[in-house]
Subunit: 253 residues, 2 copies
Amino acid sequence: MPGTLYVIGVGPGDPELLTLKAAKVLREVTCICVPKGREEGSSLALSIVKKAVDLDGKEIIEAYFPMRKTTKQKPAHRSRSTEKEGSGSASCELDAKWNETAETVMSILAGGIDMAFITIGDPTIYSTFFYLYDRLLELNPGLAVEIIPGVSSINASAARAEISLGLADEKVAIVPATYADSLKGVLEAFDTVVLMKVHKVLDRIIQALDVARLTEKAVYISRAGMSDERIIRNIREVKESDLNYFSIVIVRK
Amino acid sequence: MPGTLYVIGVGPGDPELLTLKAAKVLREVTCICVPKGREEGSSLALSIVKKAVDLDGKEIIEAYFPMRKTTKQKPAHRSRSTEKEGSGSASCELDAKWNETAETVMSILAGGIDMAFITIGDPTIYSTFFYLYDRLLELNPGLAVEIIPGVSSINASAARAEISLGLADEKVAIVPATYADSLKGVLEAFDTVVLMKVHKVLDRIIQALDVARLTEKAVYISRAGMSDERIIRNIREVKESDLNYFSIVIVRK
């Protein structure tokens, strides 16, 4: 009997924001897979878990997780066909890394061992797990997987800033900061716009907000709920030292 | 010393999806305020908590919570000025109800008692708490409030259906089903569209999806993680008996 893969969202940073279920499963499993990529997130997921659950005696596997920069390759879905688009040599290299990680995971599960795969925030929103999932399903379409949702950094940031993301019939857009130069339409059409990973393009976001006359409606939040959290309600006052990989801007009209 | 108001997201339905922090605070407080409105959500928040935390000896206050149907009146914010738009007599009646609830909460806090206000899912996304918050801040701008985020039904639904809401530089829109007849633009511009509370307008949503040729990309999920959960991957097959207040459609291109 192969093991079950528990995909666990460990929340945005505060170990107390783990769910009861996440903590229970993490206590029960003997093997935990931690994504190890180029970005800061890798070690954070494990450090969150360490503060909430005793990991003594558990096997920790650091699987290499290349962070993808493109959306061209859609993940497969258990009940859908996989769509793949052309891939160059860089993409092939990434694929090889993903396949390596997938094979490591599959070999452990094949030994009948339940395994937890931990990811910051919630697994369904901007988590690299779904790239791995694609490969895992290719290797074994009948794989036993349980995705345990977590508190996302978006909800945690709004909570810390005491902002509602949406009420009644309001519309909410979640937009990566790579769209900094084409925000006009979304700022017009939505009641709340959440801009993700803004740290590298904050000036361009401020420019777009200025044009839309919404700069005063924006709040900058980084590392919500962590000891070095920043909540800055005048985003013109955000300094270089406030910028962080885990940063979002919430624009609430 | 007035008490602190803990606003607690209790997650989407599965009591194990409470956070460690939510469970801890709920064990510690002696008074829990439960919204009581016209919609199904009211009693659900309490029933979730009852399964995870022993409430014996705690005071449970059921506060009347009128569900608003309009977005015209924006909530106040601690650091922002309150904007109010014209209100008719129906609106005045709602305001009176809100003020009544706010005064009940304030009188308990004034007695130095810490209080938990529980809400399904996460407090920052489509939770009526922010209407109350508006009134509470009017009564006492220095009120001690801590918002404890929870797992939202959106993330839980995606997890149960094993769908990613967004990867890398993808854009996500969250749109209440009241916009069923004007979905064209959002379906074109976003990689994922989450339609909320679809139970009353599912035919019109299917019509809009047909026009956009996206019907096959939609999944219907209701009561994610609860015993009577429904996950229907062909939304044309959703029957009357599957429809539910806690229903969403995720359209993932």
